[in-house]
Symmetry: C2
């Protein structure tokens, strides 16, 4: 079903981009990748913590499609795949990192999200 909101969003490309970026995983993955030039799947999992293999892969693919993340597959067995940021991704990661840092710094002042 197509709602009026869909029509609006379709007419406004930045909304599509915003939804990609406004994801918990994107907000964690990009800053994580910014810490090192290249990182493997395993390492990303450990750094981020709490992310499932499925979501990590899925988000990385979305980011790759968007042109923010680079995927380097060495085509070996066992698999050796590295991820890095494109220049665009590096640019965005600067803003996201500052957002992450804000959250870390002010989390104590925020009342817990308990409903």
């Amino acid at each position: 079903m197509k709602t009026s909101a869909d029509v609006y969003v379709a007419a406004c490309p930045s909304r599509v981009a915003l939804e990609l970026i406004a994801s918990k995983w994107t907000l964690l993955i990009l800053p994580a990748l910014a810490e090192k030039k290249r990182m493997r799947n395993n390492e990303l999992m450990r750094r981020i913590g709490g992310v499932s293999q499925k979501m990590l892969t899925q988000t990385l693919r979305d980011l790759e499609r968007a042109g923010l993340v680079l995927r380097i597959d060495h085509k070996t067995v066992p698999p050796w795949v590295e991820y890095g940021l494109t220049p665009l991704g590096r640019s965005l990661s600067r803003t996201l990192t500052s957002l992450d840092r804000w959250v870390e710094k002010h989390q104590a002042e925020l009342n817990g999200g308990a409903r």
Copy 2:
């Protein structure tokens, strides 16, 4: 069902905060509120566009509970309710606004989120 990810998140308060902030609506509402000291429900709806009454109210309540948004109910009929930012909200909105601006500026370089 409680998964291992839940346990992790519970142990890490900044994750809870991040999930509140990593919402499409939060990313739009806070910067919108930053443009004016006080704003009414109707005006927010128009400024943001594409948000339903339900989601707007719900997100505003979450943000209020977190201490980012101020809700001033004049208790009149018809209702007159205004929203504004707390100092903490104003502080966060600066980072979010810069994120919004990044998206606007670079949306053309981003490949559409089409799957």
